[in-house]
Amino acid sequence: MPRRVTPRKIVAPPKFKYYKPVGHNISKSEKIELLYEEYEAIKLADYDMLNHNDAGELMGISRATFARIYEKARKKIALALVEGKILEAKFGNAYFDDDRYECSNCKATFNITENSVKDKCPICNNKNINKIEF
């Protein structure tokens, strides 16, 4: 029986769909799937500079599970870097702890709180806002 996977909480999805090398001979280069939780692990450990314990806690998983996801992410990124492969952002087992919206005009993304305006963009006041579907 397949083991049930605890969903991993993430703050925001990566801002790219693909990460592509430039100037490399990307012939029929295969894509490497980088899961949202793997991206989040790299971000927490190497961008936000958290230790694995704190990072795991934020993602709702154990330190050991965090370390495993992080290792996978590093291997994929190294492979992409060295072999000039494309990284493709994939949903994986992620979930978000709140809904986010995007303004179709200025591309700002935001959440909606009790205290915020609910029907327009907090930057440009455009009414054309869409819930981000993951």
Binding site: V11, A12, K15, L44, Y47, D48, M49, L50, D54, L58, D98, C106, K107, A108, T109, F110, N111, I112, T113, E114, N115, S116, P122, I123, C124, N125
Partner: protein, 105 residues
């Protein structure tokens, strides 16, 4: 209502800063008076906890929204608790003045 915008410098023509905890300045913009105030971020070079310290500062300033490029999870957790809206802008070529101009429309 007051908004914090992360800024690379201490004046209105400074560029927007994509970092939240490690921003250079916090610009506080009050849309009722039209005034801006720039507050130096003393935790820019902190070893750790810059996001949490930045969030505490924002909470103390009594703002309802924060505009930045990336929020760390700890900052997000704290700002969420205080019902502060988190706005992410992908573009770091804009100046503070330009962002405020957009908000005025």
């Amino acid at each position: 209502m007051k908004t914090v915008i992360t800024s690379t410098g201490n004046e209105i023509n400074s560029k927007f800063d994509l970092r939240f905890g490690r921003t250079s300045y916090f610009c506080v913009y009050d849309d009722e008076t039209g005034n801006t105030e720039f507050i130096l971020n003393d935790n820019k070079e902190a070893q750790g906890g810059a996001g949490t310290k930045g969030a505490e500062k924002v909470i103390e300033l009594g703002v309802t929204k924060v505009v930045s490029g990336h929020f760390g999870p700890k900052a997000k957790e704290l700002l969420d608790k205080f019902k502060i809206q988190l706005v992410t802008m992908p573009d770091d070529t804009k100046t503070i003045a330009e962002i405020i101009e957009m908000m005025k429309k």
